[in-house]
Chain length 261, copies 2
Amino acid sequence: MHIGKPILINGSPPGSGRFPCICTPLVGRTRELLLAEVAAVVAKQPDLLEWRVDYFQEIGNQEAVIAMAGEIRQAATGIPLLFTRRSTREGGEPTPLGEEQVVALITAVCASRTVEMVDFEMNSDTTHIARVRAASQANGIGLVLSFHNFHSTPSQEILSQRFAQAQRLGADVAKIAVMPERLEDVLCVLAATLESSQTLDIPIVSMSMGGLGSLTRLFGGAFGSAMTFAVGASISAPGQIPIEDMNTVLGILQKSMGKGR
Amino acid sequence: MHIGKPILINGSPPGSGRFPCICTPLVGRTRELLLAEVAAVVAKQPDLLEWRVDYFQEIGNQEAVIAMAGEIRQAATGIPLLFTRRSTREGGEPTPLGEEQVVALITAVCASRTVEMVDFEMNSDTTHIARVRAASQANGIGLVLSFHNFHSTPSQEILSQRFAQAQRLGADVAKIAVMPERLEDVLCVLAATLESSQTLDIPIVSMSMGGLGSLTRLFGGAFGSAMTFAVGASISAPGQIPIEDMNTVLGILQKSMGKGR
């Protein structure tokens, strides 16, 4: 029993079907590093992989990116792939691409059907969001619309508005990652998650980052967050927890909460 | 690094010194069962033991209770003992003792100095509370003033008032255990804990009970709750988690939260 809607890939929850599902980031800069990373990470059986393409040195070469996505997918042996270019504004690595080129890249990756989901930032130009939504929809690929704040945590009201904005823009999944400055901010993220997971029609994903925020990575699922990011080989955001520890805590939590009153 | 004040026994945090400390209940009905329970529980190294004397068949025999406390203490090999008679009104077992007799029993146990702390309910008659406070103080024994609601969760404001009331009545530790009806109630307990742990002078202990509430047993320490109850051999309240699982989660949490931003 859980509150919150699960993320669906071709109609089914990915991997083991657990809630929340566990997503592990890939941050290799080269083909060789990425393939080594995939091999190490797949052994730990995450439910999803997120390829953070902004770390990839060849991001400027569309064909190389698509070929790489295909190779990751093959090496991932059935684990679905989320394709993410994070902007520097929202915590990503610097790349030579302008926003037009990013939209063209995502569109091409969608057309190649080498990934199951793509991530795009909801603060992007609305025409860009519409193009990414159209390209992903045309190819049966899920769209995560995301919002990040690496400095502070907006109010519960604003967080709830962000989740709702993602749904309004046509997202299949709404994702928010924000930085707590104090423990009250962690409770704020959990409260917004609990509220929006019950009022929206799409699955939502939330996390508070950093040391304090690691609490939400471990038990945000109990409040309706459909996915949590855990480290396979290298972290992609502050506060991420090793996948082995995540598995352990989620198992204990499920056992404890399943006891009912 | 943690918020919240630690529980101190003779000036030091009990056991390993971790925050929160782990307390394991003893609920045996006879001397033989209690001694077997202590042996099983001590092997798991909780920081504190709570003897729930309302389970003890000989609770009506003051000498037998004091002798038993001494035997538990000896078997506990240095783990401090919290002596608790829980009333049926707040989730305890039925006993033949009236409130006057309970106060006399606690007073006698304090005088025997066979325990390190005693628990008394803050809803008790104020003259009874004053007598228990005087007896515990005279013998250098800590006083936990506690409040339980096994049906629902009061508002954050009322929970905060309860913590403050315990401090006003002279408690060394304020403890609240309430039943959540929904996840919002769990956040309410965490928010009240966070607030009161920063505003009061004494350590506070909080928990939300049942399956939903097990979240607070695992993560309440991060929000300032100084103690969590975990099962050694038998549970004494709904939602308690095995001590092995508690150790595992607290270890992962400490590692994760220690990372800072």
